[in-house]
Amino acid sequence: MAVYKKTYRPYDGALTPSFTRFLVIPRYAFEEMRKSRFLTIFFIASFINPLVCALIIYVQHNASALNLLGVQNAGRLISINTTFFMNFLGWQSMLALFLAAFTGPGQVSPDLANNALSLYLARPFSRVEYVLGKMWILIVLMSLMTWVPGLLLFMLQAYLEQGWTWMQANTSLAVGIFVGSWVWLLILALMALALSAWVKWKPAAGALMFGVFFVAAGFGVAINGVQRTRWGHLLNISALIGSIWVQLFGANPAENNGGMFFRMPQGQELPLWCCWTALGVLCLICLYMLTRKIRGMEVVR
């Protein structure tokens, strides 16, 4: 063909179905992440706690194992109940925060820093799909750390206890693990992407993740102390999540105030609707931040 005839021709091959198109981003991102030794080790190490918990559940139901260890009364020492599962979720959720702080900032900032966003958006790929794809990376990784092992532990306990009967009696635990994890994962993923979009230096975005979580909580406690109030907890994401977990797990707020690292101090509880609203507002702020930054063009002044 003559060179002058080689003009623009649109791609006429098969297109990826539109509802799975956002999965293209995670596919390449996971390959990239596998190269990081630190991340791999951290991710594998995050399964130590589920393994220990599984062992505890197994030993609890195995009289011969208890006899072998010489701790026949250990069954009374650790109960497999709401507190056990909430603490499990609390520990895993804290690890998920660390994972989000290490991997999240690297998701959007390189694309923005190198003006590469237009390369994505010039294709049949919307802004929503881009954000969804980037969120999916974090959500898959954090799901494997939180609700997936949580539900496996739940099923192990049900299998060793009374099977279906125990499961039916403790449905709220499964609901708590699943929905409670998703609430936390959505907030983390949105926050990580929003900060990644606004702070182009990855470590600074990671620091801000910790900052929003720990410093805001500390500042909330400071507000409570100085102003003699309890509304400072509205800035404490972990306390808000803890309150919501208590509701989702169907626990008694008088006896249980959340999971490990995610507790609302006793006697300082906020109305549940306030907790949901505060987290909703946080998500909306993150979405607004993403909408402002994820654009195919940027006006540089």
Binding site: A207, F210, F214, V215, A222, V226, Q227, R228
Partner: protein
Amino acid sequence: MNLWMRQIAGVLRLEMKKTFLSRRGWWVYFLALGPVFLTLGHWLIEIGTHGSGRHSLGEDSLVFAGLFHFYYLRLGIFFGCVGIFSNLFRGEMLEKTLHYYYLTPLRRELLVAGKYLAGLATALFLFVGSTAVSFLLIGRHFGAGYTDYILHGPGLSQLGSYVLVAALACIGYGAVFLMSGIFFRNPMIPAAVVMVWENLNPFLPTVLKKISVIFYLKNLCPVEIPIPPPFNVMVIDADPTPFWIAVPGLLVLSLILLIYSGLSARHTEISYGE
């Protein structure tokens, strides 16, 4: 020697121009100004309610001690120093401007010293200033009683101690995070490790307690804040370090870290491509 001092002063001047109160560090200013606004709000609210006698001056003093222990030391100054000092070298690497310094006839140790002093000046201005202003504001609504507390009571000595501890925290954490900015591509990883270590301090065995900044600082604070239950049962008590060991000890530790950073900087090579 005179040349060295002039060179350090030159780096300090340049760094101050670039970083002091720059827009990029907005979140560090927020960390420092947060408690100021909080105590200012407290003063205004209490004035508005005509000091309805909800609390005493002693309670406010205790609240400030809590604010200092749990906000300033563990969060504000810590993260502020991460932001200020990690950025001194790593920020230049990202902006691809570090080689301008490296091409000048300047010893790397002097560059480290100049940058550290610039970071320290910013940190001291922000956090020591914030501590002092917050302390002066928290009990302001008591009027003449608070002035009397400061001038004729224990207030002035408490203020001095808090200011000293805040300054030492900036010096100590500054040295740690300057070093991490030189050694690590992602200073967040060492920062997270240091944060976990510092927060675990009350529960560590006595020997390990001493390998931290917070251990020396806590003992210098005028008002002690106990660890709340249920964690108080896990606290391991250690003999408090006397003033004459804690202050020089922390300064020497910071100096050692700085010297090590300076010596390491001599062998650093730039590869912006990484």
